[in-house]
Every structure is written in C-alpha cells, then in structure tokens.
C-alpha cells in the first residue's frame, strides 16, 4: 500500500509541475499572439490614443513578468485574478461556466458507461455474428461524423421538422435542469463518438480476454460461462477502457466547445473561446489551471482504477 501511496504522491507532484508549466506556456503564448486585449477591444476604432488609454486602464503597459508575478502571487492566496475586460473575478467566470459543463458531462457519462460497456460486451459475445457486425459498422459510421455535422442534422430533423425537442437552450442560462428537453440533443451529440470508441475498445479487450489462457483455465474448471465472462474476462478488458474513459471525461469537462456553441449552453468552452478572442489573459490562465488540475486528478483516478482491475499490467507513473 505504501508503494501505491508514493505513486499517488509522485503523480500529484508531477501534476502540479505540469499545471505550472501549462500556465506558463499559456501566458507565453498569449503574449506572443499579435495584439493584446486593448487592440482586441478597440476593434474597428483602433485610434492609437484610445488603445494606449485602454492599455493603461488594464495595466497592460506594465512589463509581462510583473503581470505574471502579480497573478502568481494572487494564485497562492487562491485568487485567480480579475478579468481584464470586465473587471469581474475570474473565479466567478469559472464557477458560472462550470455548472452547465459539469451537468452535460455527468449526464453523458451516466449514459456512456452502461451503453459503451454493454454494447462492447454484447458485440464480443456475438463475435463475428450479424449482431457484432451491425454494431461494429454502425459505431464506425457514427464515429466518422463530426460533432458539428451530427448536431446540425439532429437539430434539423428532431427539433425543427418533427418539433419533438427544443433546438437550443437559449435563454435558459444555467437552469438547464429546469428544461430537461433542451438537454437531450446536446447529450446525444456528446455521447455519439465516445460510445463508439468505448464500445469498440471493450469489444476488443473482451475478445482478447476470452481467448486468454486464464479464461480457458476457468472454463476447464467448469465455471459457468456468465461468470467467466463477467468476473474473469471483463475486468482484464476494462483497464484500457477506463483510461479511455478518463480521456473522455477530460474532453467533456474541458468544455465541449462545438456543442456549447451550437446549443447555446454557457459552459466553460464558451468562457474559454470568448476569453481567447478578447485576449482576456487572466481568464484563460485561470481556465488553464483548472483544466490542468482536472486532467491530472482524473487521469490519476483512472490509473488507480486500472491498477485495481489489472494489477499485473503494472501502472506507469
């Protein structure tokens, strides 16, 4: 157990270092972008005096390292800084955007896990038969459709032609749970591709496991097929799938930009896009920190679960 503990500690330290590196990189890259927040804000009125005034009000005329130091000092007190554009705290931006994104991610995940694993196991058990072929070709086909195209297609057919569901979540703000119908299409779009990749992974892992010597051994002992499938073969097949699942969670949480824009859901992806367009560096940095920490923690969790499922595979730190 102490080995595990030191593994976790090492991973957390590494994660912290990675997060700092990401933030520095984000800062350097935003500095390197042509134009700053003042230029972006001045837009088609690029009167040099006005740009200079905006720059002064935003303290952009101070050297980059001073601004970075100020920001880092604030971060140590848990202060993510304030937006250059609106002067509101960055923490509030993230808190506001987190709700919708988390809700979408949670719903998607709640459906993704049973669906992805179920389809995968089902296909593996019918390997080579029509059911397997059907699942394989459908998942491959759906996987090939970009989210945006799928979203537009679903909106056109299900919302506008059949009028079964609202086409967007416009005007509902963060109160998405109060309008569950508005969540159906976004979740469907989010679900479409991960379900495909996950079920294909589970299917492949399961087929491998079923062909492995330990399953053959279990069969020779006369253990019932169902038990062989679910307690012997499945855990071994799950390890890679869990890691894939972690990557999906990252993807879902870090703001699924396409879906948020298409369905007007004010989540983290929207916050990020707006902040980048406005060169609102503190907001981008704050998001980078949050995304960095989330990614580290989720992948750590996934590795621990994988370790538990397939101890022999070992876990790479």
């Amino acid at each position: 157990m102490s080995g595990l503990r030191s593994f976790v500690a090492r991973r957390l330290l590494l994660g912290a270092a990675q997060t700092v590196a990401v933030v520095l990189l984000v800062f350097a890259l935003t500095e390197a972008l042509p134009g700053d927040a003042a230029v972006a804000l001045a837009g088609d009125q690029p009167d040099p005096a006005r740009i200079a005034a905006i720059r002064a009000t935003m303290h952009l005329d101070e050297p980059a390292h001073d601004r970075l130091a100020d920001w880092a000092a604030g971060l140590l007190h848990g202060d993510l800084g304030t937006s250059l554009v609106s002067g509101r705290p960055v923490g509030q931006y993230i808190a506001d955007g987190f709700g919708p994104t988390l809700l979408l991610a949670a719903l998607t995940l709640a459906l993704l896990v049973p669906l992805g694993f179920g389809l995968g196991v089902f296909a593996a058990r019918h390997e080579g038969r029509p059911a397997d072929r059907l699942i394989s070709s459908v998942t491959l086909a759906v996987y090939a459709v970009p989210e945006f195209a799928l979203g537009v297609l679903l909106v056109t057919v299900l919302a506008l032609q059949l009028a079964w569901l609202p086409p967007t979540a416009v005007g509902y703000g963060t109160d998405l749970l109060g309008h569950p119908a508005a969540l159906v299409l976004p979740v469907l779009v989010l679900l479409a591709r991960p379900v495909c990749s996950l079920s294909r992974l589970v299917r492949a892992g399961m087929i491998d496991a079923l062909a492995s010597p330990y399953v053959a051994q279990a069969r020779r002992y006369g253990i019932p097929a169902l038990r062989v499938h679910y307690t012997h073969a499945l855990p071994g097949a799950l390890a890679p799938a869990v890691q894939q699942l972690a990557r999906t969670v990252d993807w879902l949480l870090c703001g699924v930009i396409v879906v948020e824009a298409l369905f007007v859901i004010p989540g983290l992806g929207t916050v990020l896009l707006d902040a980048v367009a406005e060169r609102d560096v503190p907001v981008v940095q704050g998001l980078a920190v949050v995304f960095g920490v989330l990614t580290v923690v989720i992948n750590l969790g996934a590795d621990l679960v994988a370790h538990r499922l397939a101890p022999r595979a070992g876990v790479a730190a």
Binding site: G35, S83, V152, V264, T270
Partner: protein
Amino acid sequence: MYDERHPGLRRRGFLAATSLGALALTTGCGTADGDSDAKSDGAPKPGGRLRAAFAGGGASETLDPHLANLFADVARAKALYDKLADYGADLSAQPRLATQWEPNKTLDRWQVTLREATFHDGKPVTAEDVLYSYRRIADPDQAFRAKASLEPIDLDASRATGQRSIEFVLKRPTAEFPNVLAAFGAYIVPAEATDFDKKPIGSGPFRFVSFAPGRSAVFRRHDAYWEGAPHLAELEFVVANEESARVNALLGGQVEYAHELNPTTARAHEGKGQIEIVRLRNSAMQAFCMKTDRPPFDDPRVRQAFFLIADRRELVDGALSGAGVVGNDLFGKGYEYYDDSLPQREQDLDKARALLRQAGAENLKVTLDTSAVAAGFTEAASIFRDQAAKAGVTIDVKTGSKDSYWADILDNGTLCCYRSGAMPIEAHISQRLLTGSTTNATKWRHKDFDALYEQAQSTRDESARAAVYDRMQRRLYTEGGFLIWGFADWILGTARTVRGVEAKAPANTLDWARFDKVWLA
C-alpha cells in the same frame, strides 16, 4: 472550426442601413406576401414578452451604456437609457431627451433644452445628469467609446443654465453639433451613477429586472416613459453567438427576434411564411482602402485605375451573396448630404490599363491585406484579385489575424479590405479623412480638404453647407483612397407574430433594435 462566431463577436463597430430602398416589412396576418406594411396591422396590442437573440460578448458583458461596443450592448443600452439626440433614417440628428438646440452666431456655443423626462426611480432628468454623463465619458483616464465624439465640447466651460437647460461651450465652430449629441454611446445616466450591472437606472423605455452577462437580460416596461410606455410588457435579450443557433431558436419558437443573419439563411426562409426576414438596405459600407501616401497609390492615376478595375456587381454578388447594392466610391449612400449626382462608376479595363501605363505602373504587383474579421472580406479579396489580373495587375492576397486586423491595417500595408457601419458623412470625414484624424486608414491628408471641412463646420446655412460637402465628395470620388464597391444589407429575422419592426431604420439609428415600438400580435 468555429470561425463563424468570431466575426460576430469581433464586430465592434456599428452598422446601419438607410431609408433608401428599404423594403416594407411583410407582416401580413393572413397573407404571407409582401403587400402590407408594418403600419397596416391594426392597433398595437399591449403585453407579452419578446425574446431577442443577439451575438454577444460572453461573460464579460456589462450594462454600462458608455462601454457599449457590440450590437447587443447598444440594443440593451437603448432599452434602458436615452441620448440627447439620435440618428434618423438618413443619419441626421433627431431630438430625443433634448427638445431643441440653438447655436450662437459663431456656432461655438449651443443652448440645449431638455424635455421633461424621469428616470426609472422617478427623479427628473436634469442638466446636471447630462453634464455628469458627458464628463464621465470624457474622463481622460478612461477609454469610453464616445470620448472622441465629445471632443469638440469644452466640458469645463459648459454649464447648466437651469434645471433643464445647458449651455455647451465648444472648442471651435461646429455646425454639426447635434451629431455629437447623437454620438454612439453618449447615453445619459443619473448623476453619480457608477454601478451599472446591479441595478442600472436610466430614462429609457424599459426598466431593469435582471442581467446575467453573456446569457440574458430581462427588462420591464417603464410606464412613465416620456414618449409613451412600450407595448411589450417585458423584453428579454438572449445571447447566441452562433448564427445557426439564432436561426434555430427563431424557427423553434424560442425567440421572436434574431439579429444578424446570413444572406443564405435569409434566402432559405424568405417568403416561406415560417418567419419574417427584414433587410435593412445600404447598411455596411464595403471598400478597399488604398494608402495614398505611399507607392503605388501615391499616384492618383493608379487609384483611378483601381476604381475602374472593380466590377462592383460581381463583388456584391460574390462577396455579399447578392445581399447589397453597388457603391460609387463615396461613403453614406442615402444619408444626409450624400452626393448622388455623380455618375455610377463602371468597370473599364482598357482605361484602367491606359492609366497604369501613364503612371508607369505596368505589371504592377500589390499586396492586399484581408482577414476573416468581417463577412465577405476574404471572398471580396479573391474576387478583386481576379478582376485586377485582367488589367495586368498582380494582387497577392495576404490573410491576417482577425483579432488585431483593424489596428494592423491602420498604418501598415498599401491596400486592404475595409468596412464601416453607418455614421453621418460628417463623422466619416472627421474620423477618417482629415490630417489629424485618428483612424485615417487611407492616409488622406490634404490641407485644402481640411479647410473645406472647417468651412462646412462654420457654415450656418444648410444648403451652403451641403454645397461644401458636395465639393469634398467630388474630390474623393475623383482621387480618394476609398474604393467603395458596395453597401451590404443588414438582415434580421422575426417571428410572424412580431409587429412594428421598422424596416427602414439602419442599424444604430434610432429605430433599429427599438423594442418600445414593437408588439406581439
């Protein structure tokens, strides 16, 4: 992949259309064809909530009217606040909070009288509120958009001469002073107001209910509005940056008004009876901008040759998907003082080639700067490149960053794509074409032209002033730096129940996005 939302977001300028050629809005109740106009829909019906979708500024949006920069900001500011004057359909100043303005003989002191109006908290709008608002905008430590427009006013010398009268002292004669009162963002807020996002108080037709930046703003009818209470009981602004989202929300009945639609969307739904499409003609000036202070455009013959290279119809059809009209190298088609007596410029490649030969500019190579900063920019650039090739000019199209485009092209390069929203012709000249103009992208600097502008500003008689503007425009038409090839339509969509949307009103003029005159049938 999400380029489309940025042009909307970045559109930090104001667009408008003119009254000329505007179509009557087809709002027939029983008949879907366009034979009825907005006025013939019977008596306005009070009540109801209208939801309007705009592209917005995300979580950094504010209700501070002096920071209004985006269309959504202006529409919200207009609902909550008033200006002293606002632009009519021909971009001339119309009285609003100010009932009248009277200059002295030398046009450098103006007496302005306010109407009797009250803020949402019941307090009257006074001269002190006006002076506070203008001083806030002009604060040297701030960068409010209207600051440059208010520059002619000497605010230290200006004073209240009564509760509802103000004497504005100007730094120089300004015949077009009412335009200053109508300037973008010059809204009147109560004296000492500083916090605009929690409980903003204005004198506009709607009062504040709630606001969530980047999502929604809900306002309610201000019953004591000086111009009469709005028909709508409530007005909600929602933000949808993606054009397809705005259209879908409109089609799906989630909103009743969608701002800023694409020409292709408009064509797909026009006359189908599902939604109404409103085209505000002659909205956005579309141009190529030649820097007149550097080769090859420092030679007026090269500029004239370029005027003749452009096939304007092809540019309008290709770059604007046909949603617009051709331009004549002059700003402000249909606005007050626009010189429409000049012949329409046509493509003439032979003459263009001859002019280039005379200028010693055969086999000319030019770089054309463009960017995806506004709809149609990159398309216009490649169409013009092909047109120029026919006259033996090689154009190298360079695509720049859209977030810093306007600042990049101000001083750099020689030829670029340009566009502008509606503003009075006087403002276009003073902001872009005088030696001291802050955004002089064509580098048009001529002492005699500056003198003409000053002459116009100190001419009291309107027809004499119009004659001076005509002289300036003829000069620009023959040898200016703006190749103005078109004016784009501004396209809105409304639900079929929406009545009273003014189709003649250019964006940013008084009647554009003016929800106090709208009702739900």
